[in-house]
Amino acid sequence: MDESIRQALIEIVGAQNYTNSLIDMVSFSYDASEHSGRPVCAVWVESAEQISKILQLANREKIPVVPRGAGTGLSGMAVPIKGGVVLDLTRMNKIVRISIEDRLAIVQPGVVYATLEKTLIPYGFFFPPDPASGKVSTLGGNVATNAGGLKGAKYGTTRDYVLGLQVVLPDGRIMKTGSKAMKSVSGYDLTRLFVGSEGTLGVVTEIILKINPKPTATSTALATFDELADAGSAINEIMYSGIIPSALEILGKETIIAINQNTDLNLPEVDAMILAEADGYTPEETDFQIKKIIAVFEKNHPKDVKLAENEKEVGELWAARKSAYGVLARIKTHFVLEDVTVPMTNIAPLLKGIQDISKKHQIQIATFGHAGDGNLHPQILYDGYDPDQVKRMEEATTDLFKLAIELDGTLTGEHGIGLSKAPFMTLEHDPVAMEIMRNVKKMFDPNNILNPGKMALEE
């Protein structure tokens, strides 16, 4: 990068907010995926105006710019694969306004999910889409990936809560989308276009979020099944029952075995374990719901069904689900955590198919996920320093994506395309849809400076 460009960047953000030191460049090379790419420099930005100036400069000089939040993404979308400038947005971390009467919160993109959650507690409100990384992940990142979470079955994903945005476009223009009103059909829905756009169309600098009153009561139950098919029918019947569980999580056999090998939980090593939670405002309300769910479990040949009687038992039932990610992360040096999503009726066939893929490629795949919205997390475990295992992981991944599409599903429910799934975009999207997406990208970013190399937008 030219010295003059470096100087111009320093002039915009100040020397203390510019870095090209090795330690920063290495830390900005990665997210939580298997990808990496070294940037040339990074800046910590503080305002939309600064970002506007940076993008004007980058657009003129045709330098890649990669917006970044906490870097917890699982598909490589914040990885500067084509070098360039990393735009670290974590210091734009102010909660601009909370208006309970209007049921909205206006935040800067660097606000951490948990910070907003904590700020809303005294009001008895919450922001429902809660990614597992919520302690660290930023709301800007959640918007860029359209993050989901455990409560997706009942409360949806980030997209369902974004009312409006302030965005800096790749040519430096600043644009507002949406409104503070609860509903709006005024023109094209530009807000939705940006949610989940992975930082390829613009840099989000302010977010208007809808917030919800927080239910004060929950009931929790757990069921285990010797046969995957029975677990599948139970899930189908819960959907039919009229109850919308606030969480409906499933753990596959491989995951249960891995948890048993690494903890003292002593879980039954069954084909599937389902954990259900109902929320509401009175115990009567949540009991009513959970009893209906339990009745469904009992009709479907469970090995065991348990209702949590108190806080301690709730903790015990959730312990297995919550330990899954950590336990699986310890087994091999590398893993990829996928997030294929299918219609709920296809969860059991998807789980079965994953077992077959695991056998076919002789690679360990442990699965858990959100049965309530059809979103499973097969975690493929491998040694990234063994070329043979890497090859088998890649083959298994390809089969997994094919399977998800065959089952009327999608490549990604909540992690995004990024780099990991870019090669598979055409599996899911027809040539017309791909062309439209590429044209949209060209319209916003004709010089392809913003987060280039992602989402298969360049072919």
Binding site: S21, L22, I23, D24, V26, S27, F28, S29, Y30, D31, A32, W44, A70, G71, T72, D88, T90, R91, N93, V112, A114, S133, K135, V136, S137, Y325, G326, A329, R330, T333, H334, F335
Partner: protein, 367 residues
């Protein structure tokens, strides 16, 4: 094939187990004060991965992050992959010292302890108006910070021990030198031998330490094994005090800051609270407490090497004190007292004490 560095030999698997989930970022005090991801545990593990992959070298460019860790262990506490970050950092610092890349402050500390008895290189120890090296039931071991920086607190602690009629003696103590192990060097055998010799000379069966770091060093380091072999028990003042009745109480709103060395490193959470509840009728926990406590920013040599960030970390902890509205912050570590007191803003009217000093003050007022 032999590995290039010892850290790789010992910790390769553990470093690669870091899944980059970033949970460490949520609790790392250095990150919290700087919002610079290269400085949290994930940033450090990534650098070490690149060193192992042969992409970068262990050199001066890495000092700023690898020597900027308070070893507070909050990352390890919250790591789903169980990466033993502090152990890895300690080993890497040794490797860096061996290739000649070390933070000058730590190199200086190692040099100072070759010729002096304390980390500050001071020649005139405070005498605390007490006879030293006499026969007694207990040895009270002050530690460097208590001897040379927080002497008022130490004097109060000794006065409290007198009020409680404890049969103790001070010794001509020297630095336990445990901190050297944290910053890339080895415990100084000569200093350890002096301490052991002087403790044994008093005939005491128990050493009470004022400093949680000295407590850890005496109990866990091979250089001090002889103390345990001779049947000497080493206890921290907070454990010692919990059995006493002080006969005083305060109605001020009191909170407690868990020092990392006492809490996460030794699992001592309840003893100080037992004592404080006896004397304070109004006790409130800080938002991050016990195993989740936020570090004061002083540990791991960071106060000496990165003073500005160290103070910024302490300010974040004091923000939590403000949040709960406490009048009094008690803790059990002179380093914490020192750093928190230095960071306190004029508008922050609460006071910061070691529990011993506070109790002594209350007893003095009651007399």
């Amino acid at each position: 094939m032999g590995k290039k560095y010892d850290f790789e030999e010992k910790y390769r698997e553990q470093i690669l187990q870091c899944s980059r989930c970033g949970f460490c970022q949520a609790v790392c005090p250095v990150y919290g004060a700087t919002l610079r991801p290269a400085l949290n545990a994930k940033g450090k593990m990534l650098l070490l991965k690149e060193v192992m992959d042969g992409k970068i070298d262990l050199n001066d460019e890495l000092i700023e992050t690898l020597f900027q860790c308070t070893t507070c262990a909050n990352c390890f506490q919250n790591c789903p992959s169980g990466v033993p970050v502090m152990e890895i950092i300690k080993q890497v610092r040794k490797d860096m010292v061996s290739v000649g890349s070390c933070h000058p402050a730590f190199k200086g500390m190692n040099e100072v302890l070759k010729n002096h008895t304390n980390i500050y290189g001071e020649n005139e120890p405070e005498d605390f108006e007490r006879e030293r090296n006499k026969k007694a039931e207990y040895v009270y071991f002050i530690g460097c910070v208590g001897s040379y920086r927080e002497d008022e607190s130490t004097m109060a602690t000794l006065n409290l021990l007198d009020r409680l009629q404890v049969d103790y003696t001070l010794i001509d103590e020297v630095c336990c030198s445990g901190v050297l192990e944290d910053v890339g060097y080895e415990i100084n055998d000569a200093l350890a031998a002096k301490n052991i010799d002087r403790i044994l000379h008093t005939g005491a069966k128990t050493v009470i330490t004022g400093c949680p770091y000295c407590y850890r060093t005496f109990n866990n380091k091979a250089q001090y094994d002889q103390l345990l072999k001779e049947g000497i028990q080493v206890t921290h003042i907070t454990q010692f005090l919990q059995d006493f009745d002080f006969g005083i109480t305060t109605d001020k709103l009191v909170t407690y800051h868990d020092p990392c060395d006492l809490g996460r490193h030794c699992g001592i959470y309840e003893e100080p609270r037992n004592t404080i509840r006896k004397i304070a009728t109004n006790f409130i926990e800080l938002p991050a407490n016990r195993e989740n406590a936020l570090c004061c920013g002083a540990g791991g040599g960071v106060r000496g090497a990165y003073a500005k960030n160290s103070i910024a970390m302490a300010r974040r902890r004091l923000d939590q004190v403000e949040e709960v509205g406490a009048d009094i912050v008690l803790t059990e570590c002179n380093s914490c007292v020192h750093n928190l007191a230095n960071a306190r803003l004029r508008k922050q009217k609460f006071r910061i004490y070691n529990t011993t000093q506070f109790i002594n003050e209350l007893m003095e007022e009651a007399e």
